[in-house]
């Protein structure tokens, strides 16, 4: 592993060394390091590229890291990772992908992740995306996340794009059942001519199922973002979608919400606010001694990463 690999691992998975516990590190389409434990087993798929991550019933306070590194241009990586989480678990999954592309040809990673979360289990899933490398080749990340939640389970999903990704289309599909709670937090930064589209489809199928989607995004330069959400309440349920965007320079963010309460007992809320940094926020920080530039950075950093 070289310096670039280590930097990517730090950025996308907060890894400073080889993790303890279960992990799988994928580089340029191949698994370069893997460890299973008795609680969390990682099994390579036979018929296609990817792994099954199997968490036994009752496993608590354990984590699994599955970062991906891509350092080749003219390379399209497609991977299928399936998570099978038993019942009564409490686990943290750190995924994420960093692309370093210094060539003039595109480099792309498409991760298709599916989560089967057992009864009364709690999962924290963090997926961070990041691109570097000065080449003119694009850094493209198109993740697909499918979530199936059984009764009483809870998932906290953080989807973060910290910069440098030329183009991304991020799709998330969730079906959630009785007494489940799904929290999705999305933070996206685009700059220059980057493009980002996110799409959420959440079906609240169970009684007292609950979903909260909060998206904070910043579009700088001439970048363009689209936020599309589709939330369907088919039972007595609660759904909330919030899309907040800050525009800098010539950046643009388009928000297209759809909420559909098929059940009369579903309560669905959508909020969206897109615009420049609020003037009063800038003024407040400047009155505390920050220059305008510092104040802007502070507001954006807090908005994206707090």
């Amino acid at each position: 592993m070289d310096k670039i690999d280590r930097e990517i691992l730090e950025r996308v998975a907060d890894l400073h060394k080889v993790p303890t516990g279960s992990f799988n590190i994928r580089k340029n389409g191949e698994s370069v390091a893997r460890n299973s434990t008795k609680d969390i087993e990682i099994v390579p798929k036979k018929n296609k590229s990817g792994i099954d991550i199997i968490v036994k019933d009752g496993v608590k306070n354990k984590s699994v890291h599955i970062p991906v590194i891509l350092t080749l241009g003219d390379f399209h990586d497609l991977v299928y990772n399936d998570f099978y989480i038993g019942k009564d678990c409490d686990v943290t999954i750190i995924a994420g992908c960093g692309i370093h592309n210094k060539t003039c040809k595109d480099s792309q990673h498409d991760g298709v992740h599916s989560f089967h979360i057992g009864k009364n289990s709690k999962v924290k899933y963090v997926e961070k995306h990041y691109g570097t490398g000065e080449g003119s080749g694009k850094k493209i990340l198109n993740p697909i996340t499918k979530i199936y939640m059984k009764e009483g389970s809870c998932m906290n999903f953080e989807s973060i794009q910290i910069g440098g990704v030329s183009s991304t289309i991020r799709k998330t599909y969730a079906k959630i059942y009785d007494h489940c709670l799904l929290n999705i937090k999305e933070n996206i930064l685009t700059t220059d001519n980057q493009y980002a589209k996110t799409y959420f489809k959440v079906e609240l199928l169970g009684e007292n199922s609950k979903c909260d989607v909060v998206s904070h995004s910043v579009a700088e330069g001439q970048s363009y973002q689209e936020f599309v959400s589709d939330m369907i309440g088919k039972n007595k349920s609660f759904g909330h979608v919030e899309c907040d965007g800050i525009l800098m320079d010539e950046g643009r963010i388009v928000s297209i919400p759809k909420i559909d309460a098929i059940s009369k007992d579903a309560s669905l809320v959508h909020e969206a606010a897109i615009g420049k940094i609020a003037g009063d926020q800038l003024i407040k920080l400047m009155s505390l001694g920050l220059s305008q530039e510092m104040a802007e950075q502070t507001i954006i950093k807090g908005f994206l990463y707090n």
Binding site: H216, D244, A278, D280, Q281, I283, K284, L285, M286, S287, L288, G289, L290, S291, Q292, A295, T298, I299, K301, G302, F303, L304, Y305, N306
Partner: protein, 238 residues
């Protein structure tokens, strides 16, 4: 010392000029508490905003310790020691109470330092420093935090815009004590409350963008009519 000379502020509204402040002349000396009072819309907040640099005067002079500050930025004025607690505290998506305190003093505080600052305004640091500065905080909590952040700057010129608004009466005594302890700096408080007026060294009454009455408390207070709730009601121009 802050001197305001022949200050005017006008805006263009629907194509017509609207005067908001008219020929204001005021001197704020060191180590004193000045309370500005007057009807809603009389121009009190606008005056403070112009002093802070948030609004730009149309003409006139603002001298802070002899230096004309009318053309320097908000943060440069902050660096000179001018600080301003807003009438409407600002909320942020993504900043916590402790972040704002750190920014205000440009240092990282530990819990005990935060405790010192927040306990002054009656808040327990443990309960608040990790709270987001958003509208999940109550109006009174936001006002107290605004006050704490402003005090933390240890300014040479402190301006408080209706600091008592939303703060329960029980805490009033502490609030007035807080201001009395700020001697050593120049303090300007905008307020409608009798108990705040009572701690003033000088009172300034504004009406329609003008200063209509000013002088030491003993002289001015009896001329103000205050209703049963302790709020300023009307002027007795006697």
């Amino acid at each position: 010392m802050l001197e305001i000379k022949n200050l005017n502020y006008a805006v263009i509204e629907n194509g017509a000029k609207k005067n908001i402040l008219n020929d204001i002349n005021l001197t704020f000396k060191d180590n004193k508490i000045y309370v500005i009072t007057g009807h809603n819309g009389s121009g009190k907040s606008t005056l403070l905003k112009i002093i802070m640099g948030i609004a730009q005067k149309t003409d006139g002079q603002i001298l802070f310790n002899g230096q004309d500050i009318s053309n320097i930025s908000i943060n440069e004025r902050a660096e000179l020691g001018i600080s301003y607690a807003f009438q409407q505290p600002v909320t942020f998506k993504g900043l916590k109470v402790k972040d704002l305190l750190d920014i205000a003093t440009s240092e990282k505080h530990n819990l005990s330092a935060m405790c010192d600052i927040l306990s002054k305004v009656g808040l327990c640091a443990k309960d608040y420093i990790d709270r987001a500065l958003d509208d999940k905080l109550s109006g009174g909590e936001l006002k107290r935090i605004e006050l704490a952040v402003t005090l933390a700057r240890k300014g040479k010129l402190n301006m408080f815009d209706e600091p008592e608004a939303g703060i329960d009466l029980w805490s009033f005594e502490n609030l007035t004590a807080l201001f009395e302890n700020l001697k050593g700096a120049t303090n300007i408080i905008v307020s409608h409350q009798k108990r705040i007026l009572e701690i003033a060294d000088e009172i300034i009454l504004m009406s329609d963008g003008k200063v209509v009455l000013q002088g030491n408390r003993e002289k001015v207070l009896p001329k103000l009519s205050i209703n049963a709730c302790g709020r300023l009601r009307e002027v007795n121009n006697g």
